[in-house]
Symmetry: C2
Subunit: 244 residues, 2 copies
DNA sequence: CGTCAGGTTGATTAGGATCAACACAGGTGG
DNA sequence: CCACCTGTGTTGATCCTAATCAACCTGACG
């Protein structure tokens, strides 16, 4: 996979400039951030942070997909977040990392050492307000996911996940409702099962069933065509009061 | 139930002064907040906010317990948060309420009309930083709960809930590990089932089983004695890396 | 005294987990 | 070039946990 050449680039040219934690920073603030930022890259499967380790830096995802997860002693795993470009990693004000983070695809992070970043947070309201906004958005998303984990059936979970990935892989040509859509799954069946609170066998079976019913069309293992997104939406029991 | 006389009180005397969104405000900021605040009270079961309604105000819980929940069309319910004193309700910057909020016990809120509060957020870094902190804490809590919903057994869920309530009803005499503890459940079996992603029958059965095994002692329906919190902790599969 | 909300317990069912076999593609090394 | 391995995915058989359906209990309250 060819990575965009981000290292050393000016923030102004950054692909996530207008969505990440720095979105509302002005030129002066951006210059200050630029001084303390550095890039890191990871290959698929590579750990990025471990729960319990000291949190030396925080970061924005620039390119790629990562998963945020927790593991029980006996090995049961639950993904608690899917990190896509512009998502923020880490919790300023905390000494220790609370969730494992792992690269799913090739990933490039824009990192800030925690201490300098915390100092900037303190005297850059634009930054703390943006981070507050992002945290509140993620909180809403986490709560929606709690509804899925606690109450939805396997079939509804799969449909919801497909629609979530569809929505978040927002290509620019996304004007209103399309009559069909194609999405690229960054996750393996196992990753998906860990996100949905299922086993990988159940995920596989539900894929097969949705395929047989014509609600999805598989092109290879990772590419899913959704002939009629509205029909899939009915299966997902999603309800957007024009909120999300 | 006798409510503390909070209405009209000065913030300085407020029971949640040092934990709520206003915790880090100085006297001047507090005075400004005092001008736009007002109190509201609710009786058990009374709705506080409805998903989809315009968000006219945001609030802090001063006294009592409320639940935050989402409902599927067919009636399936999932609690997505338990709101205790000092917790914040609402999302500045959003026009519409995204979760239902209902009083569980008698509840007193300290409310702020949203617009003035948003203006204050903009020019009061103490406030936005505190709200950011609280949102990030809640995000961590929500993610812990996702692990519970997705991967824990009914028995583990119940044990986790009891320990959560024990931890959050932090009486001052809470110096380190106690050899036994008594907690007061604000929730009905049904509320608990909605929080844990179970049915109320399953909750009831697991209570009976834990009782039979001596891990808990019921005194009436709502009071639970935990003879050996460490033993219960082993059942809950909780793992705190000195994080929480 | 009857009603009703909250709670317990029992019988049965079902959705998903578990255990297991196999398919297939992509490397790797002889 | 082929044999082999490994990671990923599919499908089948069986089991088990928690859901469902149902009866009943208790205490509060008009």
């Amino acid at each position: 996979m060819q990575l965009p050449n981000v290292s050393g680039d000016r923030c102004a040219a950054c692909p996530i400039r207008h969505r990440a934690v720095c979105a509302t920073c002005d030129d002066t603030e951006l210059a200050a951030l630029e001084k303390i930022k550095y890039y890191r890259s990871y290959t698929p499967g590579q750990p990025i942070m471990w729960r319990g380790d000291p949190m030396d830096y925080v970061a924005s995802v620039v390119v790629g997909t990562a998963r945020l997860e927790r593991t029980l002693e006996d090995g049961r795993k639950q993904m608690v977040g899917l990190l896509l470009p512009s998502d923020f990693i880490g919790r300023p004000g905390r000494e220790v990392i609370s969730h494992d983070v792992t690269a799913v695809t090739d990933v490039t992070l824009c990192c800030f050492r925690r201490k300098p970043f915390e100092r900037m947070l303190n005297d850059t309201p634009h930054l703390s307000q943006r981070l507050m906004e992002m945290a509140l958005d993620e909180l809403d998303a986490a709560r929606d996911w709690m509804l899925l984990l606690g109450r939805k059936t396997a079939r509804e979970k799969i449909a919801s996940l497909l629609l979530l990935i569809h929505k978040r892989s927002d290509r620019p040509d996304n004007l209103g409702h399309q009559s069909s859509a194609e999405i690229e799954l960054p996750l393996t069946r196992e990753d998906m099962s860990n996100y949905l609170g299922l086993t990988l066998e159940t995920v596989s079976r539900q894929f097969s069933k949705l395929k047989k019913e014509g609600l999805i069309v598989l092109e290879g293992n990772r590419t899913v065509m959704i002939p009629d997104p509205e029909a899939l939406r009915l299966e997902a029991e999603i309800d957007d009061v024009a909120i999300e």
